[in-house]
């Protein structure tokens, strides 16, 4: 119930709110962030050991597709924000539409990513090629699976929205799923510059 409250509020009148979504999803989110965080750090230190290999291989990545995917994911996150806003005014139909939009963007993300992978695979690049590609493929495909999981979660919520299970007064599940989706976005925000840009 706070996403919107947070958005509307520029004068800070509202009292502190509780977490959007279930406490349990936040534990899960923290765990996931921890896993990714450790992987990011491991990547950075592994790179320090093989600077030339990492720098050279990194330049072969398709930064345009990476940027496109960043935009897609940020936009999908925005759609999810709108979906939560919609259910808060009891507009389940609109809420479901926004979520379907977010899922469509998620699917686009996956298509773009697979296209990118295909580019690399047809260039004969695999996990074994060198350490950079190993990290690149590992991190991005691990993240990709989270996008997929997020889409499944959003799908369940759409199903329940259509079923009339959520209302302005009871839309706890929507926020829970939304929080997870934002996390997937949040992690990409670090992953993208780290693997594609910084050298």
């Amino acid at each position: 119930m706070n996403t919107n409250a947070a958005l509307m509020n520029e004068d800070g009148v509202l009292p502190a709110e509780d977490l959007p979504g279930d406490f349990a999803i936040w534990i899960f989110i923290l765990a996931e962030m921890l896993v990714f965080g450790v992987m990011f750090i491991v990547y950075a230190f592994a790179r320090a050991h093989q600077l030339e290999v990492f720098n050279a291989s990194q330049l072969t990545l398709n930064r345009g597709l990476g940027t496109l995917n960043t935009i897609i994911l940020i936009t999908s996150s925005y759609f999810v924000v709108r979906s939560v806003a919609a259910i808060k005014v009891n507009d389940a139909r609109q809420s479901a539409r926004w979520l379907l939009g977010a899922m469509a963007l998620g699917a686009m993300f996956i298509v773009v990513k697979l296209w990118e992978f295909n580019e690399k695979f047809s260039a004969g690049i695999t996990l074994e090629t060198n350490d950079f590609y190993m990290y690149y493929l590992t991190l991005t495909s691990f993240h990709l699976m989270h996008v997929l999981m997020g889409m499944i979660i959003l799908g369940c919520i759409v199903f329940k929205l259509r079923n009339g299970d959520y209302t302005a007064a009871e839309h706890f599940g929507v926020e829970t799923g939304a929080s997870f989706w934002h996390m997937v976005d949040l992690l990409w925000i670090i992953l993208f510059p780290l693997v594609y840009i910084i050298h």
Binding site: E17, I71, I74, P193
Partner: protein, 100 residues
């Protein structure tokens, strides 16, 4: 668990368009920051300043998403602190690895 809903939920402001415009503005800022990162990448610029500025952009984007998309802005400071701390620690470690 007993649970009450804040009256703020039905606050008339929520019904107003400007709210959504606010999240739209955040979205626009995020897109612009993304383009900026892309531009830096295309310059193929190297160096510490570039690395640090890209990390700084990521930090800002992360804060925007956490505070305004995830809605942590008005949640207990602890949670915002955790997310911010996460970005500081991960970003900091990455920076250290690059500077070493």
């Amino acid at each position: 668990m007993d649970h009450t809903f804040p009256t703020g939920l039905y606050h008339p402001l929520i019904m107003n368009k400007p709210i959504n415009h606010f999240s739209t503005r955040i979205w626009l800022v995020l897109i612009m920051l993304t383009m900026l990162t892309f531009a830096i990448g295309e310059e193929v610029a190297q160096g510490k300043a570039v690395m640090l500025s890209v990390l700084a952009i990521a930090f800002i984007k992360g804060q925007l998403i956490a505070n305004y998309f995830m809605g942590l802005r008005y949640v207990s400071w602890l949670w915002r602190g955790i997310i911010m701390g996460y970005f500081v620690v991960v970003g900091g470690m990455v920076a250290i690895a690059y500077l070493l």
